[in-house]
């Protein structure tokens, strides 16, 4: 799986996230379950493909999201996705994560991502809610969707990224 194909699939996922997911989530949960699929792929790339790739993917897709859904602030998602992706990559540079490990890391990363987003919006007074309320209202419910999604795509995504890194290494050796 080449990098181009991965990027193409991520673009498709980006579209699905904004245009199809609102229809799949049941009616009353529209603003409580919020998908972060692109972010999950970025974390996967950090786990199985290295920190620099995660930084690049995170920053560019974050910027895409910032621009397409511009409402209050630019650059937030780009910064957070890049940063969290990069540091996950740093943590898992020397070991290969097992499935449980990967899911746990994705869970924590999603919690961190949503929480930091919330606090930045709070600093700029765009939201006035209490953190405890936000946690119960949307951060935890969406975490379940995130984990289910990560679990369902674990096998193919790991294969893509690992085969992709492997191919790169062979090229380097040659």
């Amino acid at each position: 799986m080449s990098m181009n194909r991965i990027i193409l699939l991520m673009l498709l996922l980006f579209i699905v996230e904004g245009a199809v997911m609102p229809w799949i989530i049941p009616g009353n949960f529209g603003d409580r379950i919020i998908p972060h699929f692109i972010f999950i792929i970025v974390i996967f790339s950090a786990l199985y493909s290295g920190r620099h790739r995660a930084l690049l993917l995170g920053a560019s897709f974050g910027l895409l999201q910032d621009i397409v859904y511009f409402g209050h602030l630019l650059g937030l998602h780009a910064f957070l996705m890049g940063l969290i992706g990069y540091y996950t990559g740093v943590l898992f540079e020397r070991r290969r994560a097992t499935i449980m490990m990967a899911i746990a890391v994705i869970g924590f990363a999603c919690l961190l991502y949503d929480s930091v987003l919330f606090f930045i919006y709070k600093v700029f007074r765009i939201t006035n809610d209490a953190y405890a309320w936000a946690l119960l209202d949307y951060i935890l419910p969406s975490l379940f969707l995130q984990l289910a999604f990560a679990l369902s795509i674990y096998v193919p995504v790991r294969k893509w990224f690992e085969s992709q890194t492997m191919a790169n290494q062979e090229k380097d050796e040659e």
Binding site: F70, R125, T127
Partner: protein
């Protein structure tokens, strides 16, 4: 190596602050790269959103098959009432026109409330809990401008926050907040007592899902379950758009005015068609 990492982190952070500062500044228009990316994204997204809606709608309709008979009966009653009202309306509007002519209103005054409704398709919804903006498939080429009100059949859902040539972004009314730099308060009144009631919708409480209406006069006869509509006094929102219904009313902070909780009429789940309200008055003002 460590130093380089720290340096990159600081550099990224400074860049973030700079970009946030840039986006917070009061800018009238988007930059061209933003317009380009938004346009192309909206163009692709509209192929996905509508079919997904059609498929989801099909299953919902199967579920609703039972209630459809009752709904039909209600609609028939409403259609009969509408036909009666239409006759009165025609007489009244003729009369009104004649009076305006006699009082020699200017052209602008006559056109003031002649709103034009543009029908638009939602193409995508943001996946950020604190920024639930929606993209629609009409843009400045179709005459959409920032600050135009957007409604569904049920009621007001938000205002256009930014436009590109072929798409526009709608900030939902749930982001209404006095302290927030991006959304203005809405002047409202009560349907049926337009000249007597007045209030200002100042913020949305996401914990209770209610809008807060403030500055209601002490002697206001507003009561529970009255329909709240825009009054058009703020010159941003057109008048007469349904917003919701009054749910409770209590004495405000200083005891001089009342506040009320307003339940939104429109629902934000599974939105498809929305209407952008073109305000001829606003167009004149900007020219």
């Amino acid at each position: 190596m460590r130093n380089k990492r720290m340096f990159m982190l600081m550099f990224g952070f400074i860049l973030l602050i700079a970009v946030i500062g840039f986006s917070l500044s009061d800018r009238k228009e988007l930059t061209w790269p933003e317009k380009f990316v938004k346009n192309s994204a909206a163009y692709v997204q509209q192929w996905f959103y509508k079919p997904a809606g059609l498929i989801a709608g099909f299953f919902e309709e199967i579920g609703e098959l039972r209630t459809i008979h009752e709904e039909n009966e209600q609609l028939r009653l409403m259609a009969a009432a509408y036909a009666r009202d239409k006759i009165t309306y025609n007489f009244e509007s003729k009369e009104n026109e004649r009076l305006k002519d006699e009082l020699s209103f200017t052209k602008r005054q006559k056109q003031m409330y002649n709103y034009n409704y543009l029908i638009a398709q939602v193409v995508s919804i943001s996946n950020d809990a604190n920024n639930r903006s929606m993209n629609i498939n009409l843009g400045s080429k179709n005459g959409v401008k920032p600050n135009m009100a957007v409604t569904t059949v049920e009621g007001l859902i938000g205002i256009v926050s930014s436009v590109t040539p072929y798409s526009a972004t709608v900030t939902p009314i749930t982001e209404l907040d006095e302290a927030s730099p991006t959304f203005n308060s809405i002047a409202v009144t009560i349907m049926g007592r337009e000249n007597e009631s007045f209030g200002i919708l100042s913020s949305y409480n996401s914990e209770t899902n209610r809008l807060l209406m403030t500055k209601i006069a002490e002697n206001d006869k507003m009561s529970i379950s009255d329909t709240v509509i825009t009054s058009g006094l703020g010159n941003v929102y057109p008048r007469g758009l349904v917003i919701g219904s009054v749910e409770s009313k209590q004495v405000g902070d200083y005891g001089l005015t009342y506040t009320a909780a307003v339940k939104l009429a429109a629902s934000f789940d599974h939105l498809t068609e929305v209407f952008v309200v073109q305000n001829p008055e606003a167009e004149d003002a900007s020219e």
